[in-house]
């Protein structure tokens, strides 16, 4: 187990290092206006050149990378240029990160609470109206781009239930809609996979034997089918975490939640390179942590994975 964890952790760290390096190098290809900000128009080309040299942007890439990692280890992500001039990126992101994490975790929790039971119900009522309704919902959510139904939910559901259209930190009712919208897609994918694994499991021979033996349907469902169907479900946890990143970008800017997703949209529109870079780093780290935790969960629920090369099979 430890051997597996260590290997997996090392892999995550190497991946993060490679991603950070690639992101940093790619962003050097960006147009340089992103570093000059509003002052660009007042400067002569020579002044611009001096400014960029002072920022270290004329150094060879390797040197820049060295500086960047030095700063990063001290927790310095650079300073914002156009979004909020001369404010450290770290400060800007620190203000926003909690909103994103809380909303993301809330959405994942909500989708687990709704999606898994929905999948179980659909598998039990296979072919009946609930199953058809659920399948319709899943097809819609998976096929139609999230932006479209997010906008329509904001447009019509707020009118329908008289809910506030924008996020207000001190009014919990206004958290409802963003959270539900964000949970829609992960709920669909949980329900879909849960249903599929349940149906697969129900078709297996041991279930037929158990039925023939006279095991009660309820015991069969909860003791045998669900436990086995749950194991492959663990692997979708990280995928949902990644999905909420995308969701947060839409939702946070639609409901003006002061989180990182909305910040990313703002920073992109103002071409603030250092903010974009910082956010991309944080999003990728969150993604990598999510995948790591997902593999960890898999290893915990499925004993076969623990038996890596280091340990022998008893």
């Amino acid at each position: 187990m430890l051997w597996y964890l260590g290997k997996r952790l090392l892999q995550s760290v190497v991946t993060l290092f490679i991603i950070v390096t690639i992101v940093f190098s790619l962003l050097r290809l960006m147009p340089e206006e992103g570093y000059l900000g509003a002052a660009a128009e007042k400067m002569t080309p020579e002044q611009q050149e001096v400014y960029l040299t002072n920022l270290g942007l004329r150094d060879p890439l390797i040197v820049q990378l060295g500086h960047f990692y030095g700063d990063l280890l001290q927790g310095d992500l650079g300073t914002s240029v156009t979004y909020r001039t001369d404010v450290p990126v770290k400060t800007i992101i620190a203000e926003k990160i909690m909103y994103s994490i809380l909303f993301g975790l809330g959405a994942v929790a909500l989708s687990l609470l709704v999606g898994v039971p929905l999948g179980i119900l659909m598998a039990q009522m296979k072919g009946r109206w609930l199953d058809r309704l659920g399948t319709g919902y899943i097809v819609f959510v998976v096929a139609v781009p999230a932006a479209v139904y997010y906008i329509f939910i904001q447009m019509y559901v707020t009118d329908l239930f008289n809910l506030p259209m924008l996020f207000d930190e001190y009014n919990p009712v206004s958290w409802l809609l963003p959270l539900t919208s964000m949970a829609l897609a992960p709920t669909a994918s949980y329900a879909m996979w849960m249903r599929r694994y349940m149906v697969d499991e129900l078709n297996k021979d041991y279930i037929k034997l158990a039925r023939a033996k006279g095991v009660k349907e309820r015991t069969l469902m909860f003791k045998h089918v669900m436990r086995n169907a749950f194991i492959p479900m663990a692997q979708y946890l990280p995928a949902t975490i990644l999905f909420t990143i995308t969701g947060s970008i839409y939702i946070e800017s639609l409901y003006s939640i002061p989180g990182m997703g909305g910040l990313l949209v703002d920073a992109i529109q103002r071409q603030d390179n250092s903010v974009v870079q910082g956010l991309v780093l944080i999003f990728s780290s969150l993604g990598i942590i999510g995948l790591f935790l997902g593999d960890l969960a898999m290893a915990l629920v499925d004993p076969r994975i623990k038996l890596g090369k280091g340990e022998s099979v008893r």
């Binding site: 892999q11 995550s12 190497v14 991946t15 490679i18 991603i19 992101v23 790619l26 962003l27 290809l29 960006m30 097809v139 819609f140 998976v142 096929a143 139609v144 781009p145 999230a146 932006a147 479209v148 906008i151 329509f152 904001q154 447009m155 990644l242 990143i245 995308t246 970008i249 839409y250 800017s253 990313l264 949209v265 992109i268 529109q269 974009v276 991309v280 999003f283 990728s284 993604g287 990598i288 995948l291």
Partner: protein
């Protein structure tokens, strides 16, 4: 006893000369015994036709694709980019509700929404088709090498472990942020992320198939690797490849909407479904103008849902287990 004796009495009538001729080996007839009327594609098509909804959607999608191509050449069509001038006030024909002149109304600067929607659908479908095609070609090539060549297996697996860890959304954002927005850059950004899943999928299937007896036999007989891949392995995978391709189209359209939403999409002069929805979103607050959001959203939903359902129905139909 009577029965047998009856037969014995009849035997001279029943026999004839032909029964005592020697049988001749007929190559043609020998072939026919092993012949079955089964054709993979015909059976697939037959099972597909049983799914009424999917057939209806297939016809719908084909109609939309055909219409989108011929629409600019039809009579009474307006230009998607021209700004129309109201003759009475001689200002731009802004936000006109749908009427007989402008079938779907006009947008906030006086462009005809009807022709913009079809031009946008054309762009989005084009992006979708190209991305799906590139994904399939690159995905199959890399997946086949990855699964078949034992030397390349470790390096590609290591590379995959890294690539897989990067959130697709982030790559998409980063690529479009660095490249200037245009149709080709959007396609490039999507292709960079898209092929990975496909390659892994093909690889897994090929690993399962490559050591089956018929492939070992083929190898022993000296068949070159490329021929084994092309003739023995890929035909097995054709149905799943088609499925992935038909699913890649709605995802590419969705990704375009996403990129436009965060401000990295196509320029306004290039109508696309993402652009139209984004323009409509801005006007969401005034209920009279919501048609500008609703029309493109409906067209987009029809197209993406249709591709999704057709893809799934086709995958079911292509599975020989479902053939009669």
């Amino acid at each position: 006893m009577g029965l047998y004796s009856e037969e014995i009495t009849n035997i001279s009538e029943k026999s004839n000369e032909k029964l005592f001729e020697f049988a001749v080996v007929d190559e043609k007839k020998a072939e026919e015994t092993g012949y079955s009327n089964y054709s993979y594609w015909r059976s697939t098509w037959k099972s597909f036709l049983k799914n009424r909804l999917a057939v209806f959607l297939l016809i719908l999608v084909c109609t939309i694709v055909a219409f989108v191509i011929i629409q600019p050449y039809l009579p009474y069509q307006k230009s998607p980019t021209e700004i129309y001038i109201d003759e009475q006030t001689s200002s731009q024909a802004r936000n006109i509700a749908p009427n007989s002149e402008f079938w779907f109304g006009t947008n906030s600067i006086g462009q005809d929404l009807w022709s913009r929607i079809w031009a946008g659908t054309r762009t989005s479908l084009f992006i979708g088709f190209v991305v799906a095609l590139v994904e399939v070609i690159v995905g199959i090539t890399i997946g086949a090498l990855w699964g078949f060549s034992r030397k390349l297996e470790t390096p590609i697996t290591q590379a995959y472990n890294i690539v897989e860890n990067i959130p697709t959304t982030i790559v998409l954002i980063l690529m479009s942020y660095i490249l200037r927005p245009s149709i080709s850059t959007i396609i490039i950004a999507m292709c960079i992320t898209g092929w990975v899943e496909m390659a892994r999928f093909i690889r897994n299937q090929i690993v399962i198939l490559r050591d089956r007896e018929y492939n070992l036999a083929s190898k022993c007989l000296g068949t070159p690797s490329y021929r084994i891949i092309l003739k023995n392995l890929l035909p097995y995978l054709i149905s799943v490849i088609m499925l992935r391709m038909s699913l890649a189209i709605p995802f590419a359209i969705g990704a375009e909407v996403f990129l436009t939403y965060i401000g990295l999409g196509l320029p306004i002069s290039e109508p696309s479904l993402g652009n139209l929805i984004n323009e409509g979103r801005v006007l969401m607050m005034s209920p009279d103008l919501r048609y500008q959001l609703i029309f493109p959203s409906i067209v987009l939903s029809i197209i993406t849902i249709s591709f999704y359902i057709i893809g799934n129905a086709f995958a079911d139909a292509a599975d020989p287990k479902n053939h009669v």
